[in-house]
């Protein structure tokens, strides 16, 4: 039995110490120990070791063990009600870990600031792009953006307003008949071979004074603001147009005429004829304007509800809408060029589709005197004169100078009524009118004061010049007499 390995012998000895050997293995071990005295000695030492272990020292009993345990259990129960996810005794350790983590994180961010800033920059660019794309999907965009004074003047003269410089489409208004107006949107409307006219051309012809130029600028600015909220296109194929745009061109021109002196009006009339404008100055009627030319103001009302003609692929309606124009134009300003072109193409397609469908839908009328017709690639909206001129509860202000050099303005207000509206609405409208009139009167008074100052300065300058001329004349006379 010398074939036992060291491990086998060790396990047999251990089992023998525990009395767990069966008869067969006991025989094997006995025979091995008989021939190997060191194995027998090891067995005896292991038995002695086990005996020593069995006689171990024990701890004295603790009579208060359970008392202290129940106190510990009570404490443990209280801790289990702790809101923290760990016992309260670990709060200092947790705080220390949190501080170390915070500092470590701060150091890591500081060391990795370059890649982090790059990452943030890339992410913000992606967000910006996503924002821009999302604007084009289902949001409302103004039809006319970046309209300048030159475009407003051209609109006043020819009634045509391009949607954008890059777009082939345009909006054109026309007094189609005695019954009403027509708004045309489409390619044909843009293809009017009109010469380009600028405000500088107008000024070169009529030669306005500085004061007149300021007043004309304010007229054009007010028109720009009206044009900005005159039309909106929604991505989900809907077009909203303010019917008041039909009169805007004539009103702008009337206001410009109202600013000018008779001689200048004649020059303006010549200018209009030369450029084949839609309107000429009517010298039989005294010039009247809806609003007095005001000193330019920066405050604009946005989100004011107005009546719009709303055209969708299968409906035509006149409804009151409130657009936040500043916000919409802000969104417009972040558009990239390709997206603008894309939007205009969609609008052109929309108009084309409407133009083709309109003749086949003869009943596309609303309760208001508005209807839509189509011709070629142009969609036309016919708006009844009564709807624009009378049904609108807009104040009509006529302000005209009584005479040259006089600093007194005749003030007249005419307020229309709204059929079917409640008295409450009329009262509110009158209050609005009153507020508007007060504002305009203030503006006029300021403007008159300014004009007086200008005239006084001119007179003083004239007196000074006269005095200078007189002094020069005397000097020359003295010199001649000396000769």
């Amino acid at each position: 039995m010398s074939g036992l390995s060291k491990q086998e012998l060790r396990e047999l000895l251990s089992l023998a110490v525990d009395g767990e050997l069966d008869a067969e293995r006991r025989t094997i071990l006995d025979e091995y120990c008989a021939s190997h005295p060191e194995a027998l000695r090891e067995l005896q030492e292991l038995r002695r070791l086990k005996a020593l272990m069995g006689a171990r020292r024990t701890v004295p009993p603790d009579p208060f063990f359970f008392t202290r345990l129940s106190q510990s259990l009570e404490k443990s129960a209280e801790e289990s009600k702790n809101l923290l996810p760990f016992p309260s005794k670990f709060v200092p350790a947790a705080s220390a870990i949190a501080i170390v983590t915070f500092i470590g994180l701060g150091i890591t961010i500081f060391l990795q600031r370059g890649p982090l800033l790059q990452f943030i920059s890339e992410t913000s660019t992606e967000v910006q792009q996503a924002y821009e794309k999302s604007i084009l999907k289902g949001s409302i965009l103004p039809l006319f953006a970046n309209v300048g004074n030159d475009e407003v003047l051209q609109y006043a003269l020819f009634g045509t307003l391009p949607l954008d410089k890059e777009s082939d489409a345009a909006l054109r208004v026309d007094e189609a008949s005695a019954e009403g107006y027509r708004i045309e949107v489409g390619l044909k409307a843009e293809k009017q071979n009109r010469p380009a006219v600028t405000v500088d051309d107008l000024y070169a012809e009529v030669k306005p004074t500085k004061v007149q130029a300021i007043r004309i600028d304010s007229v054009l600015k007010a028109a720009r603001e009206k044009i900005a909220r005159a039309g909106f296109y929604a991505e989900n194929n809907a077009l909203a147009i303010d019917p008041e745009i039909t009169q805007l061109n004539r009103r702008v021109l009337s206001r410009i005429v109202g600013v000018l002196e008779p001689a200048q009006r004649k020059r303006l009339d010549r200018f209009l004829r030369e450029h084949r404008a839609l309107y000429t100055v009517d010298f039989d009627e005294p010039p009247s304007v809806d609003h007095p030319p005001a000193v330019p103001r920066h405050a604009t009302v946005t989100g004011h509800p107005r009546d719009y003609i709303v055209i969708t692929p299968d409906s035509l309606a006149v409804t009151t809408l409130a657009f936040d124009v500043d916000s919409l134009h802000g969104q417009w300003s972040v558009q990239v060029h390709s997206n603008m072109v894309q939007m205009h193409r969609k609008l052109e397609e929309f108009v084309r589709t409407q133009a083709r469908r309109a003749p086949r839908i003869p009943e596309r009328r609303t309760e208001a005197p508005v209807r839509i017709i189509g011709e070629g690639d142009v969609m036309s909206i016919e708006v009844g004169r009564m709807f624009v001129d009378e049904e609108r509860n807009l104040p009509r202000l006529v302000v005209a100078p009584r005479g040259r050099g006089e600093t007194f303005f005749r003030f007249e207000m005419r307020s229309g009524t709204v059929p079917g509206d409640s008295d409450r609405l009329n009262i509110r409208s009158d209050l609005d009118i009153e507020a508007q009139v007060r504002t305009q009167m203030d503006s006029m008074m300021k403007h008159l004061q300014w004009m007086q100052d200008v005239q006084i300065r001119e007179l003083r300058t004239r007196d000074s010049l006269r005095a200078l001329r007189e002094a020069a004349r005397r000097r020359d006379a003295t010199a001649d007499s000396l000769r």
């Binding site: 002695r48 070791l49 020593l52 006689a55």
Partner: protein, 218 residues
């Protein structure tokens, strides 16, 4: 909160006032003769007072087991308290797949292992302790001289010198008298592993305590 704690204390201290299966109150003596499984069933059915009997039945064994591992009277009471708190928290989920005391021993051994691990880490970070103890420990690990210590102290030192995975089976077998199956249950390993580790541990301990064993054999 305080009211609930008082209630719990009362429940823990009033095991005798509980009722038997036929609804009659059961005296303390009758309860104390009940088996572990019966007491645990009562505990799980809401009678938390029986926990006191289980504690009193096993507190000394747990304390002595921990003493065999650590040989420190100051530490073992805190550890034993923690073992029974853990048992109290887990007793509601006890599934009778093993005996209560092997389950309790498993908790105690695991807690002891955690403590040993913590001490090892603490010793690693304590440079003074490292300087003071390493050389001493190395000497002790090599041999245990029976000069000034009695036999029990020598055996304790010898056990302390054993690696933990060999020390546990030796303690559970030779000090507590558990069977191989019970040791396997406590240590959550195979019986073959227990036998192997036990034989190896004994051999190592015999080598460590060789001078003592020779002296006592002469």
């Amino acid at each position: 909160m305080a009211k609930a704690s008082v209630y719990m204390n009362e429940r823990l201290h009033t095991a005798g006032s509980d009722r038997s299966s036929d609804g009659r109150p059961m005296p303390d003596e009758a309860m104390e003769t009940r088996s572990d499984d019966v007491l645990i069933s009562l505990f799980q059915s809401g009678d938390q007072g029986v926990f006191r009997i289980l504690v009193e039945r096993y507190q000394e064994r747990v304390r002595n087991l921990l003493f065999s591992i650590f040989h420190e009277t100051g530490t073992i009471d805190d550890l034993a308290q923690e073992v029974f708190i853990k048992a109290y928290e887990g007793l509601g989920r006890f599934r009778f797949e093993s005996s209560f005391y092997t389950w309790l021993y498993r908790i105690a051994v695991n807690r002891a292992r955690d403590e040993l691990r913590k001490r090892k880490v603490r010793r690693f970070f304590s440079f003074h302790g490292l300087d003071d103890s390493t050389e001493k420990e190395v000497m002790e690990r090599t041999t245990v001289e029976p000069v000034s210590m009695d036999e029990q102290e020598l055996v304790a030192k010898g056990l302390e010198a054993l690696p933990e995975k060999y020390r546990m089976p030796v303690i559970l077998k030779d000090l507590d008298g558990l069977s191989y199956e019970e040791i396997a249950d406590v240590l959550e390993c195979e019986i073959g592993t227990v036998k192997s580790r036990l034989s190896r541990g004994r051999t190592m301990l015999r080598n460590i305590l060789a001078p003592l064993l020779k002296d006592s054999g002469q």
